[in-house]
């Protein structure tokens, strides 16, 4: 097996991975950086983020307000020292992107423009039309091209972390083009592998978001934190699940049920605001968890609209007018027209909540370090505890910048004066990966089909770990995922050739998703309260006495995982009431 020696290996080349790589290259031009990704960088799912990125820049805004919005939006499950660090770094990172050429929308005077977003008290979301993530990703990718010290390994599927002497010292990966395994020996490894939304059948996430990075860390002994918090975005296209950005509502779009009523006013987000005059942090600009949950209640009451794509509510943007829609929401208009045949200038568009984002992930501290020495993580795959129980829209694009950079700095610190690696031990570990793949590859007595297992997993997650959860449903979910993980040991490939074998990669991705699904269901079963995106019908109240703490799930092979807890860091904002009734109580 070929060995590639490097100083830092980064797994994932989306927004977080690229930001990390650039930060490393800038800090020390002599550093050898390996950027490993199963897709070319510009295919990473950062490109699909639409609305924008939050950072305090305008004179009417303040760090305290961004802090309060984030902590309240996260239902007090955010670590407040982390939030503090984040809000101060956010504007610097967004300015850095501006200096790298990101085409942010502008005010007439040439300064950066900001737009309103759900759950935010002030306009503070920087945006590039409704393709903010796309522009951030491409700006980072293009900027990274000027650093020769960044060696990209595009279309290398990372498999296992190499952990020896109690610290992470590398990773194995398969070159997809040849099917050949490689081992990367590195002084530090940074995982920036994105979320795992594809474990659900209906998701805004691209096909690549299968939690490989999370599962890799989990298998290597690092805990997954707060995995039960899965964000539903309130406005997805009902057939493809494609995202219609929160900016639709930020710009003034309204949500209607079948009776034409702006039903959010019935769920603690009223009273009604005038159409076309969106007010911050109320009605349609409530936080995502509340708005998605309101849909579920409308569905129970029979107030949703029956369409050929299932039960929907209507997002009405007609009053915004064609000019504003073209200028600020061109992608949304195109998506609705192409995939649903609806012109949002002329008609309301049917939408429904769709799985969007994992608040949980690899447990990291404010330095982006995991409990496993030498292993760092940033972006959606990490849980640095910024987002708590519910992420505010437009915080995640900034999160990957702030903590991508932070991970780079921490890794730099870590690699100073490390003892030499025991290459014999690392080679032996890599050989284990080789064996694992060989077993999967050459198994002929398997009985389980990959697509069959995947469908059962998705159905289980939707049925038992959706917007509202119950003890009974979660017990069923935990048992079923456990069964599926066991059956996964008998999965059989149809394709046994070497070159770009997506049958093999989909099987490996399924393994990753099952590991993540286990952490989601187990965490959700253990959390007997309702907080943010985790809503239990049998425990409808938040329980700060018992659950103002993070769920930590530890991998135990095929056995049930170990669940532990970690206290939430509270510095200045004691748990309070989340109020989205606006200024006009």
């Amino acid at each position: 097996m070929e060995t590639i020696s490097t100083d830092v290996a980064i797994i994932g080349a989306g927004g977080a991975g690229l930001r990390t790589a650039i930060a490393l290259a800038e800090a020390d031009p002599k550093l050898r950086i390996a950027l490993i990704s199963k897709v070319y960088p510009m295919r990473s799912h950062t490109c699909a983020a639409e609305g924008g990125a939050a950072g305090v820049i305008k004179p009417d805004d303040s760090f305290d307000l961004h802090f309060d919005d984030t902590v309240g939006g996260g239902d007090w499950l955010s670590d407040q020292d982390c939030v503090e660090y984040f809000i101060h770094e956010a504007p610097k990172e967004l300015l850095q992107l501006e200096h790298w050429g990101c085409p942010w929308n502008r005010e007439p005077d040439g300064s950066v423009a900001v737009r309103p977003f759900g759950g935010m008290k002030k306009k503070r979301t920087w945006f590039a039309a409704d393709k903010s993530g796309f522009h951030i990703l491409h700006t980072l990718f293009q900027t990274s091209l000027q650093f020769d010290s960044i060696t990209r390994f595009d279309e290398y599927y990372a498999l296992d972390l190499l952990v020896d002497d109690g610290r992470c010292q590398g990773v194995t990966a398969m070159e997809m083009r040849s099917g050949q395994l490689r081992q990367f020996h590195a002084k530090a490894v940074i995982i920036a592998g994105g979320g795992a939304g594809r474990m659900f059948p209906f998701s805004t996430n691209g096909a690549i978001k299968t939690g490989d990075g999370m599962a890799m860390a989990y298998r290597a002994g690092a805990p997954l934190k707060d995995m039960e918090f899965v964000q539903y975005h309130p406005t997805g296209l009902p057939n493809t699940g494609s995202l219609l950005t929160e900016a639709c509502r930020g710009e003034g779009g309204i949500l209607l049920n079948k009776n034409g009523r702006r039903y959010l006013q019935d769920y603690g987000m009223g009273p009604e605001t005038p159409v076309g005059q969106p007010q911050l942090k109320t009605m349609e600009l409530g936080p995502r968890d509340r708005v998605s949950q309101a849909y579920w209640h409308e569905l129970q009451k029979g107030n949703t609209v029956s369409t050929q794509w299932g039960e929907c509510v209507m997002l009405d943007m007609r009053h915004l007018g064609e000019k504003k829609i073209n200028e600020r929401l061109p992608l949304v208009r195109e998506l609705a027209a192409s995939y649903l045949g609806v012109d949002i200038v002329k008609d309301p568009v049917p939408i429904r909540p769709v799985v969007h984002y994992m608040m949980g992930g690899i447990s990291t501290n404010t330095q982006a370090a995991t409990p496993l020495p030498g292993l760092f993580a940033a972006g959606e795959c990490a849980c640095v505890s910024l987002n708590g129980a519910n992420r505010l829209g437009s915080n995640s694009l900034v999160e990957l910048l702030v903590f991508g950079r932070r991970a780079a700095l921490s890794a730099l610190e870590h690699i100073q004066g490390l003892p030499a690696a025991n290459t014999t031990a690392l080679n032996a570990l890599a050989e284990e990966t080789q064996q694992r793949i060989r077993t999967l590859f050459s198994r002929t007595d398997g009985t389980e089909s990959m697509s069959g297992l995947r469908k059962e997993m998705m159905d289980t997650m939707e049925k038992n770990a959706g917007i509202y959860r119950t003890e009974e449903g979660l017990q069923e979910g935990v048992a079923k995922i456990h069964e599926l993980r066991e059956r996964y040991g008998r999965v059989i490939l149809t394709d046994r050739t070497n070159v770009f074998n997506t049958d093999l990669f989909q099987a490996l991705e399924l393994g990753s998703m099952l590991d993540c699904a286990e952490a989601v269901t187990v965490g959700a079963l253990a959390r007997k309260e309702s907080r943010g995106a985790h809503q239990r019908l049998d425990f409808p109240e938040r329980d700060d006495k018992n659950y103002l703490r993070h769920t930590m799930v530890y991998h135990q092979g095929l056995d049930a995982p170990r669940v532990d807890y970690l206290d939430v860091v509270i510095t200045k904002s004691p748990p309070g009431v989340r109020d989205y009734s606006g200024d006009h109580k």
Partner: protein, 129 residues
């Protein structure tokens, strides 16, 4: 070990693959007629310089069916070539006034207009009107 498959582009027949390539080739071929007409003009000047009898003979050949056919073809080619050129101007020379770009049709339209005005002026000078 991996042997990528190279699907060669047929060097002499690729433009049959799609109508847009045929349109492109048509545009390129029009330049042959424009070139031929230039040669023809040089020839006309030469016969004019050689004296009245030479010029008379030249005018006579102009009336032959082959000559008329060539002129008609050359005119069609020139018109088509000019149209593709004018249509291209909006892509090659976009004009931004304030924030907005001037609509492309306006830029191309201005070229058509200028063409018409110049043509009328030349015809006027030639004594047609």
């Amino acid at each position: 070990m991996s042997k990528p498959l190279i699907r060669e582009v047929p060097p002499t027949s690729w433009y049959f693959r799609h109508p847009r390539y045929l349109r492109y080739m048509a545009r390129e071929i029009t330049s042959l007629f424009i070139g031929a007409y230039c040669v023809f003009l040089v020839f006309a000047m030469h016969s004019l310089a050689a004296g009245p009898s030479s010029y008379e003979a030249f005018l006579l050949t102009l009336r032959s069916p082959a000559s008329i056919a060539f002129h008609v073809l050359a005119l069609v080619a020139a018109l088509y070539h000019a149209a593709t050129w004018f249509n291209a101007t909006q892509k090659a020379m976009p004009i931004q006034l304030g924030e907005e770009f001037v609509p492309g049709n306006l830029i191309s339209g201005a070229h058509y207009l200028a063409w018409a005005v110049l043509s009328i002026a030349i015809l006027f000078l030639a004594g047609v009107f």
